[in-house]
């Protein structure tokens, strides 16, 4: 196995991870199977639906299309890595999805929230069209996107309010 494996390391949700795996192993499988982070979901496996969306160095990426060697030595944030000011608190985006009914079955939700995080980090006060562009890689079959639109708008307000209170809190997750 030596010839086909690599020493893979990355920071996942703030924690250094190191393992010997095949360079072509999908990040999706590393997360779900090797690290037991099942909040990242598997659905289309061709990068269309966004259920497996994670942040890699702050950028939203479909983890089903990402091989181990491509994301070695990066910082990876999954839904489990998102939280409010303390670890037990919800992130304002999560809070907004909860309040507005931005989910039903919840299976697309982790990916949807990760994409929202990337969107709001980039564009703190997105216009409607920017929200649609930011989330066009995430499919939801339950909500019809109404609750999601309302949640993202509300999340933008919450994040803006929070960053006005604390100048560092709105910055990308480290």
């Amino acid at each position: 196995m030596k010839a086909t494996s690599m020493q893979w390391q990355a920071v996942v949700n703030g924690k250094a991870q190191e393992m010997e795996i095949a360079p072509s192993r999908r990040l999706l499988d590393i997360l779900r199977d090797d690290l037991d982070l099942t909040g990242t979901k598997v659905s289309c496996e061709i990068g269309r639906c966004g259920a497996c969306m994670v942040l890699i160095d702050g950028q939203p990426m479909n983890s089903c299309l990402m091989m181990a060697y491509q994301c070695a030595d990066t910082e990876i944030t999954t839904i489990e890595g998102l939280h409010g000011e303390t670890e037990s608190e919800l992130h304002p985006i999560q809070e907004a999805f909860l309040e507005e009914g931005g989910f039903q079955c919840g299976y697309c939700t982790p990916g949807m929230i990760i994409s929202t995080k990337a969107l709001l980090d980039r564009t703190p006060q997105p216009a409607e069209q920017e929200i649609k562009e930011g989330l066009c890689g995430n499919l939801c079959r339950c909500t019809g996107y109404g609750g999601i639109m309302r949640a993202v708008e509300s999340a933008a307000d919450k994040c803006a309010h929070r960053s006005s209170l604390s100048p560092t809190a709105g910055l990308p997750m480290k």
């Binding site: 919800l90 009914g101 996107y145």
Partner: protein, 783 residues
């Protein structure tokens, strides 16, 4: 009332199951793993129709890491499944009838080995004629797919003499409508974990809409007592009808028992497309006649439904389509015949709307065509022909009378969207040009056309007359001092848990923490029927109405014994029983006198447990499948059509729904919005395309469900909550009503925008692309 967060006050509540969903902590059944677990994979048929000449699994069995291989020889019980008619082989013996048929299955130590082992299984097939067209299947020369032939089911409704009357009608509209093979496209594909327990039982962790039905079907396949199987079936990552039937359960169960180890199954999206249910493609021919005043006289309908290779609920779906193809209209002379036909195209089955979507699209299309023919406003035309509150149902059966139809019709007529519609639509293509309320500053290019359309639906709930439709539930004070309800309903995202919480808080004035909700586990819940046919909300509400009085009486009696306070001063409330004190001349005061936990502490096991069993209300008339309770909806939609590209964009959308009191406003809005966008896909983009029995659309890149960029510009949900005073059925389910009536409203809007009548879904874009000559007339010159 417009239903939204603002208008809902405190009833707009964060979902009880929400936190674990937004944090990703929730373990779906396909996220589960177990010590020593194997991975199961299924070998599907290579051909849509073939005879199996030989089947050799020896090389797969010998491969290192393969622990179990199963074929039909390993099925101890009935090698068939199907909710209504068990005609689908769990593992095929000698014939395959569609591309998703299972021939063998493997459990191995890694998914890669399991996948590889499938390639080692040798199957020799004799390829047979593939029946792709239901009309071909009905010919005498077609191969017979099942011993009884190729007809699964026929329906017929005859009243009066439609043929003769049609010949004498002043106006007749004849049209053939066709609808797509829509896929449920739940985000979580089918799967689960199958665990042989040390005590000889089997635990099945797999999503379904009816745990007890799965348990019965799995027991039948295994030839086991049902009680040996425990089905844990919630939470579910979406279903929409698609997980109602068995999917991976036979293979997971058989592999787990053969290997003696836990087995995980989880379909890839492509396998989900290949093996899973779809909505029935239907060809609906309608001929409808009216007199010179615009009164409907006669209606002739022929429905051909492509049910695919196996039955599942194909027959009840056809019954439903038959009942709904007459709409909420007065019709004296009716001649409807339906046939559901076996083909080698996938398997069609249960899907949100249940045959209503197709029938309503066709019937409402007729209404718009007839109205235009006589030059009437389409809504006035519907008003003229609507059923009256005392009229019988579409099958002449007695139905529960409400004013829902009148109310949704009035609400739509008064909606700002419908009032915005230009009445003068004599020149449909030109009428809407140049009017753009959003960007009125910039003139709209002449190839952009706008129109507004509407539609109407009455939609039956429950399974209908003559079909076992059990309901029930359990209410108790549990050992932890919580008011606990248990139902065999499932949470697939619709918000059942949130709705139950609100119902219990309403009934007992307690807090969310005082409540325990038990669902989705056949070891823990009573039989209360399936979560289908928009029935769970009504059934849960009716069960609680039956259970609350005996429960309250017993709990308050207990509190009286403990506190010495007379029962008539006691009531349930936050965290326990409260005493209401009214002293003369003073305001009422209240205090908590004993906690639920204290009561539980002195309660014998089951002493405060109450069960009820009943059935979903049905019509007294012996009309099989006929419904008793209906919900009513009216929809208006504005579209923008780009006649250069044929692209249709849904703009403002309005749904009004008469379904009794709203229990859970967030859930209600979510169901209508979600149903509406699912219907948008049905109308514009979705079709699981098959060629020669093979799927051409195999994943979400070619099977196009709406994305966020496709959603409406705005959507208003107006609810009508009134019910007759003597109504004892409470809130009606609304899981389907949002998805059944949007398509005809969109196609009516397209007609107004472009002059094109649409009779085929999804809307053929090429039909909307107009020749440049059209724009030249409107002052645009081609380069």
């Amino acid at each position: 009332m417009l239903l939204n967060r603002e208008n809902s006050g405190e009833r707009w509540r964060k979902r009880r199951d929400g936190r674990e969903k937004v944090t990703g902590e929730l373990r779906y059944l396909t996220d589960m793993t177990a010590e020593g677990m194997l991975y199961g994979r299924v070998l599907r048929s290579s051909h849509p129709h073939a005879r199996i000449l030989s089947l050799d699994t020896s090389a797969a069995e010998a491969y290192e890491g393969v622990i179990a291989v199963i074929t039909y020889r390993d099925v101890p019980g009935l090698n068939r499944f199907g909710i209504a008619v068990p005609d689908q082989p769990a593992l095929c013996e000698d014939m395959v009838r569609y591309i998703g048929d299972a021939v063998a299955a493997v459990a191995a130590v890694t998914p890669e080995i399991a996948e590889y082992a499938l390639s080692l299984i040798r199957v020799n097939y004799e390829v047979l004629e593939t029946i792709t067209d239901p009309l071909r299947a009905l010919e005498d020369t077609a191969p017979r797919l099942h011993p009884q032939g190729n007809v699964l089911h026929r329906t017929q409704v005859k009243q009066g003499d439609a043929d003769t009357v049609l010949q004498n009608c002043t106006y007749v509209v004849k049209e053939v409508y066709s609808t797509p093979r829509q896929m449920h496209a739940y985000m979580e594909t089918e799967g689960g974990l199958f665990v042989p327990e040390p005590d000889g039982r089997l635990t099945v962790y797999a999503p379904t809409q009816h745990g007890y039905k799965d348990r019965m079907q799995i027991a039948r396949i295994l030839d086991w007592e049902e009680e040996r199987i425990r089905v844990i079936s919630s939470p579910i990552g979406g279903s929409f009808g698609g997980k109602d039937e068995l999917n991976v359960q036979p293979y997971g169960s058989l592999l787990a028992l053969k290997s003696g180890r836990p087995v995980k199954m989880h379909n890839s999206r492509m396998e989900s497309v290949r093996a899973g249910l779809k909505r029935h493609p239907m060809r609906i021919e309608m001929e409808t006649g009216m007199d010179e005043h615009g009164r409907l006289q006669a209606h002739r309908v022929r429905i051909v439904a492509d049910t695919g290779a196996y039955a599942t609920l194909g027959a009840p779906v056809l019954n439903f389509a038959t009942e709904h193809c007459m709409g909420p209209y007065r019709l004296q002379h009716v001649d409807v015949e339906g046939v559901s036909v076996y083909t080698n195209n996938g398997v069609s089955g249960e899907f949100r709307g249940f045959g209503g979507n197709q029938a309503i699209f066709a019937m409402e299309g007729q209404m718009d065509r007839l109205a235009e023919k006589i030059g009437m406003d389409p809504w006035e035309f519907r008003m003229l022909n609507r059923r009256l509150p005392d009229d019988p149902g579409p099958l002449q059966q007695e139905i529960w009378r409400t004013n829902g139809l009148e109310q949704v019709m009035q609400a739509l007529a008064q909606s700002s969207l419908w009032q915005r519609r230009t009445v003068d639509s004599a020149l449909p293509a030109a009428v809407m040009t140049g009017y753009d309320p959003v960007t009125s500053a910039s003139p709209v290019p002449p190839w952009i056309k706008r129109g507004i359309g509407s539609s109407l639906a009455m939609h039956g709930a429950g399974l209908g007359y003559g079909i076992d439709d059990p309901a029930g539930g359990r209410l108790s004070l549990n050992a932890q001092g919580q008011i606990e309800v248990a139902f065999s309903y499932e949470e697939f995202g619709q918000g059942l848990i949130a709705t139950l919480e609100i119902m219990l808080m309403d009934l007992f004035h307690c807090t969310a923490e005082d409540i325990s909700i038990v669902i989705g586990d056949t070891d823990l819940v009573p039989h209360s029927g399936s979560s289908t046919a928009s029935r769970s909300t009504t059934m849960a509400w009716m069960a609680l109405q039956r259970l609350k009085t005996p429960f309250l009486q017993a709990v308050l009696q207990k509190a009286q014994e403990m506190t010495g306070i007379p029962i008539d001063q006691l009531t349930t409330g936050e965290h326990g029983i409260w005493q209401m004190i009214t002293e003369e001349g003073e305001e009422m005061s209240r205090k908590r006198v004993v906690s639920y936990r204290e009561i539980a502490g002195v309660t014998e096991d089951k002493e405060l447990t109450f069960d009820t069993k009943f059935s979903y209300p049905t019509t007294p008339d012996e009309v099989v499948g006929g419904h008793f309770l209906y919900t009513y909806a009216a929809v208006a939609a504005e579209v923008e059509v780009n006649t250069l590209t044929g692209h249709v964009k849904l703009l403002d959308t309005y749904h009004t729904v008469a379904a009794g009191p709203v229990i859970n406003p967030m859930g209600f809005v979510g169901q209508i919005e979600g149903g509406s966008v699912m219907a948008l896909g049905f109308t514009l983009t979705e079709d699981a395309v098959m060629e020669e029995g093979h799927y051409m659309t195999r994943n979400m890149d070619t099977y196009m469900i709406p994305g966020i960029q496709d959603m409406h510009t705005s959507l208003e949900v107006e609810v009508i909550e009134d019910l007759p005073e003597n109504d004892s059925f409470g809130p009606r389910g609304i899981g389907e009503i949002g998805s059944v009536a949007l398509a005809p409203a969109i196609t009516a809007a397209i007609r107004q925008a472009t002059g094109q009548w649409i009779s085929h879904l999804p809307v053929p874009r090429e039909q909307l692309i107009q020749r440049a000559g059209r724009w030249q007339q409107e002052g645009v010159s081609p380069r």
